[in-house]
């Protein structure tokens, strides 16, 4: 069997294993979905008037703020789901069966690839669920063409894959579930200091570069542009660069941690 077909076959076996886990124990995934939905409802219905009053020179109404908020919430959903990935990877690594996999003639990274692909699928599901809540409270894409929808979907998938590889690395270096969820904190913290809730230019001047160039903001702005027709500018390239960079970094980091001797 060639390396590639071995990799594909073993990875799909590992993916089946992870999907089986997720199906049997869906509670973790559902918990992680709660946070973005709560934040969405909180910012629309509780803080909504203040937030929209502060936007676009004060003229925006609540539905305009919903439109502004939803793309960021969708990417935040991905961040939250990948925290679950870090936790489940670290829990999985303490299982004896992982030691068994290491002594079998299989494609080694497939253990990790199974987690990544499973997690990306979960991200897509989560985004669809949270997106449905967004639509239910009034989010509408104003002028997206079929191609732009496709690009938006591709962006979400690639972004999910990039964050997942980082999350897998975080899970691998964490000795237990608690440590994993702490280590993965940046994945839920970064969207809070991005342009999810307020535009970057409404932030203090010294903070703007941080908010503007961290991974979430370019992706959020690109998604907004695709769905709402706002200006994308250099954010498209930034988003793609971040996704590829994080994915490659996460892959090699995870692989090198996994190839180390286990304790």
């Amino acid at each position: 069997m060639s390396t590639l077909s071995l990799a594909v076959r073993d990875s799909s076996t590992m993916l089946r294993r992870n999907l089986l886990h997720a199906r049997r124990y869906p509670s973790l995934t559902l918990n992680l979905l709660l946070t973005p939905v709560m934040l969405l409802l909180l910012f629309v219905y509780i803080f909504g008037d203040v937030m929209s009053a502060g936007m676009g020179g004060g003229g925006a109404d609540r539905s305009a703020y919903i439109a502004y908020l939803v793309p960021g919430i969708l990417l935040m959903t991905i961040g939250g789901t990948t925290v679950g990935t870090a936790v489940s990877v670290s829990m999985d690594m303490s299982e004896g069966v992982i030691a068994r996999f290491r002594t079998m003639p299989i494609h080694r990274p497939s253990v990790l690839i199974g987690h990544v692909v499973g997690s990306v699928l979960q991200c897509v599901m989560s985004v669809i669920l949270v997106g449905a809540v967004g639509v239910a409270i009034g989010f509408r894409s104003t002028d997206a063409t079929a191609l732009e929808w496709l690009a938006a979907f591709a962006l979400l998938v690639v972004f999910a894959m990039a964050l997942t590889w980082i999350a897998v690395g975080m899970g691998l270096i964490s000795p237990n579930a608690e440590a994993a969820s702490n280590n993965a904190l940046p994945l839920v913290f970064l969207p809070l200091i991005s342009s999810t809730f307020v535009p970057v230019d409404a932030m203090p001047g010294w903070f703007q570069p941080i908010a503007e160039y961290q991974p979430f903001t370019p992706a959020i702005e690109t998604l907004r542009g695709l769905l709402l027709g706002t200006e994308i500018g250099h954010n498209g390239w930034l988003a793609v660069a971040w996704c590829l960079g994080l994915a490659v970094l996460g892959y090699f980091w995870s692989k090198s941690v996994f190839d180390r001797d286990p304790n």
């Binding site: 390396t3 089986l20 004896g96 069966v97 030691a99 996999f101 002594t103 001797d261």
Partner: protein, 338 residues
């Protein structure tokens, strides 16, 4: 990538010919920080035999298994498993071995059957073949009834059986069993022994670790006593027993007069005046026994009871490990030696 071709998979019981080594090591070393766990291990295990690595907790048994099964890397020395070097050809080793660890290597979140099918998929069996092998092994290990339940709900013995069943999916020629019966009740332990004997009769090479002397005695062709990271002794159970003195013939009397005259007739004896027994050092051979009996006959003495005591592995174990233990490791747990 790994070819599944394995040099030692020539028919296992080709009989007569000296068997090639299934496992051989030279000067294997491993340390964690400044703690040396394995301090130069040399082993040669013929194919088709059962080898037991015997030692107390913390002696380095599990580390040895982890290294030989390519789970961790050694710091020094060389080892070949199934003709493959563990350092340069780990995938060759992996294709030939199966490992059942001290802590069950089963996926607790999925059912026993799903665990078996997972193994079948990873060994690239066809769907049909995988189902057949899984069903067969579940049946053989008496797990068919529990097949649809999550493995986390299994008892210790069932988990261990599932673990071994999963190991056998790949039809390994060499099986590492790291403390296969630790923590099992006596019934499950005998059950496991039965299973191991059956593996051997199929021509598989078994490398097992144990802290139970009885287990090594029951199962192993050859035993190595590992203590403090070194092989303290190696040989068959019989050879190990011969290593230490301690064999004797014991005579018990009820008549004090007979006891006293026997003591003087036999000469070199250990007396126990309270229980009227005499201990005569002896290897238990026919010749030595006859000498003793001849002397008693000549003196017209009859003992009420005669027993021949040969040293058991416990004696060997204490003799081999006791001396080195005291100065270096005062905290050596005593209960590990049964």
């Amino acid at each position: 990538m790994p070819s599944s071709v394995m040099p030692t998979s020539i028919p296992p019981q080709s009989g007569g010919h000296p068997s090639p080594a299934a496992v051989s090591t030279v000067g294997l070393r491993k340390s964690y920080g400044d703690k040396t766990v394995l301090d130069g291990i040399d082993l040669r295990i013929p194919a088709g035999s059962v080898f037991a690595l015997l030692g107390p907790n913390g002696a380095g048994k599990t580390t040895a298994v982890k290294i030989l099964s390519t789970l961790i890397t050694a710091d020094g020395g060389q080892a070949q498993v199934a003709g493959h070097d563990i350092a340069t050809s780990p995938d060759g080793v992996r294709a030939a071995i199966g490992v059942t660890g001290q802590f069950s290597a089963v996926d607790g979140l999925i059912t026993g059957e799903e665990n078996m099918l997972l193994m079948a998929d990873l060994h690239h069996l066809s769907r049909r073949e995988g189902r057949r092998v899984a069903a067969e092994l579940l049946e053989r290990f008496d797990l068919t009834d529990a097949a649809k339940k999550p493995a986390s709900t299994y008892s210790g013995g069932m988990k261990r059986r599932l673990d071994l069943a999963m190991t056998l999916v790949g039809d390994p020629r060499i099986i590492f069993l790291d403390e296969p019966t630790t923590g099992l009740d006596p019934r499950s332990r005998h059950n496991m022994w039965q299973i191991i004997r059956q593996l051997v009769s199929d021509g598989v090479t078994v490398f097992l670790t144990t802290q139970y002397l009885e287990e090594a005695d029951e199962l192993a062709d050859r035993i190595a006593v590992l203590n403090d990271g070194k092989i303290a002794a190696e040989g068959t159970a019989k050879e190990l027993k011969r290593l230490i003195p301690g064999g004797h013939v014991r005579l018990r009397f009820t008549d004090p007069a007979a006891y006293r005259s026997a003591a003087s007739a036999l000469g070199e004896v250990t007396r126990d005046d309270e229980s009227l027994t005499l201990q005569i050092p002896s290897d238990g051979s026919q010749r030595e026994l006859r000498t003793i009996l001849d002397r008693l006959d000549t003196a017209a003495i009859e003992a009420d009871e005669l027993t021949v005591h040969t040293p058991d592995l416990d004696d060997v174990f204490f003799a081999l490990t006791g001396n080195t233990d005291q100065p270096n490791k005062p905290n050596q747990p005593k209960e590990t030696v049964r």
